[in-house]
């Protein structure tokens, strides 16, 4: 392997991006420890980080163009994995059927991994087109690429994960010369469609009562029942607010998570744990680290020589940013509770691994920015 890595590769290797990602993940491990010091989640996450780094290294040194060439095969593998969830290999965790348990491999969440094949497939298709404004036919083909994984995830169903796929498609279309008027029309359509769909959903009962409550508590936290469906949101806000300016600095004896007031502290609500332990200072530092990481990714996108590479980086960066916003927004009580992990922070091997693999792609793309 070492022999394959040429000199310029070491020189052009994106140490900053890699360092930032590892730093955030390590910070995450500390917070997982703070969340439940007596449980083994944080030790498992250390092992997970090591595995993820190994996968990252492999992807980073590989030539991304060859991987993009193989995108259709990878895409099909992704679909197969997602399909497995719906078969007897699928495993239900916390009432949600989103995991697969395979012999030797163990248990993992295909919806996390399937993002990468989807990104690659979209990049392959849209990156190959020759300039000019986007045609409706091309958009339809893109939609078809999306429909595979999205449809399977919605069958699980895992709405949170499904939502994280949307910005990938949006970013790809936006960067593939879609006309600005369509962008505006699309935004308007969302503004009109979402409340309409909500109204219809509530009226027809398609949107379940607990889902409605989760939204209502965000719209009107004061009149929500703090013991009912609003419980998660209210407890999360209490936990965040309790952190104050500088947090409890790892004093977890009376923490919200240890006393079990805060649900899912090591996964979906890891940011609340961070807020409680490190306060406003720690949270802002983390947000800055994310901002820096995403800026760094976007900078890379500007510098790459080919469009496919650019699309890979931009859709990964957009998906990551969107997921950060959804997760923290939920933790801070202004977005409804939707089960999406916080990238690099939440406990869970699947999410960590897929994030590092994605970053591996970015690093791989950047490393080859001067090669043609």
């Amino acid at each position: 392997m070492v022999a394959i890595i040429e000199k310029h590769e070491i020189r052009d290797f994106d140490w900053l991006t890699t360092g930032l990602a590892i730093a955030i993940a390590s910070f995450g491990i500390w917070q997982i420890h703070n969340a439940l010091p007596t449980e083994s989640y944080w030790t498992k996450q250390i092992i997970g980080l090591l595995i993820a780094l190994a996968a990252f290294a492999v992807v980073a040194v590989s030539d991304y163009r060859r991987i993009i060439d193989a995108a259709p095969i990878i895409y099909v593998i992704g679909l197969v994995l997602l399909f497995l969830v719906l078969t007897p290999f699928g495993v239900e965790v916390n009432g949600q059927r989103a995991w697969v348990r395979l012999p030797l491999v163990g248990q993992f969440q295909p919806s996390e991994f399937a993002k990468i094949p989807t990104v690659l497939m979209l990049a392959k298709y849209f990156g190959a087109r020759k300039g000019g404004t986007l045609q409706l036919r091309e958009v339809m083909i893109g939609a078809l690429i999306m429909a595979g994984p999205l449809g399977l995830i919605m069958l699980e169903p895992d709405m949170g994960q499904a939502l994280t796929y949307i910005p990938i498609f949006a970013a790809v279309l936006f960067l593939s010369s879609i006309k600005i008027r369509y962008v505006i029309a699309g935004l308007l359509a969302v503004v009109v469609f979402v409340p309409t769909a909500w109204y219809v959903g509530v009226k027809t009962g398609k949107i379940k009562r607990y889902q409605q409550e989760r939204v209502n508590v965000v719209l009107d936290p004061d009149s929500a029942d703090p013991r009912g469906y609003g419980y998660h949101t209210v407890q999360s806000m209490i936990t965040v607010g309790k952190g104050g300016l500088s947090g409890t600095r790892g004093d977890t004896e009376t923490s919200q998570s240890v006393l079990k007031f805060l649900p899912e502290p090591q996964t979906d609500f890891i940011f609340a744990v961070t807020a409680e332990n490190t306060g406003f200072i720690g949270c802002i530092s983390l947000l800055l680290a994310y901002a820096l990481l995403i800026s760094r990714l976007i900078d890379g996108a500007r510098e790459v020589s080919d469009k496919q590479g650019m699309l890979v980086i931009m859709s990964i960066a957009t998906a990551m940013a969107f997921q950060i916003f959804m997760n923290i927004g939920m933790t801070l009580g202004f977005l409804p509770v939707i089960g999406v992990p916080l990238p690099l922070m939440s406990a869970g091997l699947s999410a960590l691994l897929s994030t590092f693999v994605a970053i591996g792609f970015v690093v791989s793309v950047r490393m080859r920015r001067f090669v043609n």
Partner: protein, 631 residues
Amino acid sequence: MKLNEHSQNLGGRIITIQVVVFVLLALLGARLYYLQVVRGDYFSERAENQRIRLIPIPAPRGAIFDRNGKILVDSRPTFNVVLSNEPIKGIEVDDRVDEYAKGLSLEPAYVRERLVSIKKQNDFETLVLKDNASMQDIAWVESHLLEFPELRVELQPQRFYPHGTSMAHVLGYVGEISPKQLESDEYKQKGFRPGDIIGKGGLEQYYDEYLRGTPGYRKVIVDSRGRVQSEIGKVDPQAGQDLVTTIDLDLQNAAEQQLAATPTKRGTIISMDPNNGEMLAMASLPSFDPNIFVQGSKTKEGRKQIAAYWQDPQRPLYNRAIQGRYPPGSTWKIPESVAGLEQGAITVAHSNLACGGGIQVGNKFTRCMGNHGSPKLDYAITHSCDGYYYRLALKLGIEGITEMVEQFDYDKLSGIDLPNEKISQTPKSWRPIVEKREGKWSDIRTVYSGIGQDTVVITPISHLRAIASVGVHGKMYVPHFMKEFKPVGAVGEEGDPSYIPGREGFTFLHPEAKPIPMTPEQEEIVVRGMWGVVNNGGTATSIHIPGFDIAGKTGTAQVAELGKDVGGKKDHAWFVSFAPAYKPEIAVLALVENVGFGGSFAAPAAKGVYEAYLAKKGILPQVDADQVAKQ
């Protein structure tokens, strides 16, 4: 920006995405600032409030002793199995009913009722599932801690009345404060809360403030299911003050046994030290068991028993000594004699009045039981000559009798330290009513009032107080049970916010005795008459005790209106007395409802108390009370 040239302003679009990302992250930052910096204190407090609980530690209530240090009321530790509603919210009632019923030997229907009611309560409330839990119950709860986190064993000092029905009216009982009491300003000001245990009736109520302690609490950290994680502070409770009463348990027992041995088993015997008002005994029958009120209010059988007490026509809950009002019959002649001498209607030298076998008032002749000629005062007392007192009453007139009522405080409360005392009814209180109803106060009513009938309906306690004063040169003491409250030490460090200062001990503060103006000669002639009742051929010579001169007066009070058919309801039997006659140490009043002659029923009952008193002093051999009762 190599891609810039062959795209539709691709660089601009990338920047757009970057700006959107930054705006979203900035939004998060702003929200964080609001939650953590602006409202940080508010959320900190909410977090603290939801994890910190104060678990009260009940304070032991002061014990009550008799004058010789014998225990009358105590608190003993009992254990309650308690349900907390926080962990039980998500649990189906059906999942628990059978397990609880089996594990704690309870009725499934009762368990269901308790479970349903705790689920309706506010968060973190608790409800007693089983009180007086046995060791097996406690072991069962402890061994099922993981399975049933909603169950907890709590220590609960429970009031215990070891003597059962004895002294029940004097002691009272304790119970949860009623919703009505909680509404009243009196209790609101003292900061009472639902579920607080307060004294109800008797000394428990009268001295509640001193008997009650100050509860402490444990400050604990609980998790989201309300399970205690750790204790972070503790404030010890301060016990209530012990009360030493003036009761003499032996005399009390004697009094109750005497009453129980009477044909109707209804009435009251009270005994007092005439020299200071200390109450030695107060028996009222029928009685009740205060333990039923303390323990039984939570069980079906207990509630049934309590309801039965309330509905019993014999009124066991009512303290006949201070709430009962009876015509005093001939016992009324004692204060009347004093009033006659004092107001000059008769004098020591010329105390004779005609008996005449009765008296003619208008067209009605009211008889005396005998024909006593023209007796002197002492003879009239000894032989209970009605004719004498008809005439004395007429000589005093309604004004004189009213003056006598006021003199002897029959128009007031005795001031005894028990709640719910009633005021006697007298010619003074009846006069305005009678004059309104009949246009005038007729002489026949004055005549009847001369022998303690008709408009004279008095409480035994007010009567004993008046009678006893005659033996001690006319000093009317306020009767009382409280002898002393013991001190209680301080709790905690001085200067601490939870510091509770100690409470000092104190003794009964005697109000000034009310004087009855009497010359020694006047006193002598009345006491001589009373002495004769027992010791010189009077109406109660059957209770004569050699070497111990009782001065007394019998009374046989008609229940039905005078001159009418008694209708099967026998007379109330009275005996009022003090002894030794010329230097009294003890006064005893006995009233037995609907049995007949005072000399035959009330006087022997009083004698039983005197015998117990003498036995204690070593003058008489200890008499088996049951033997006395059988006599």
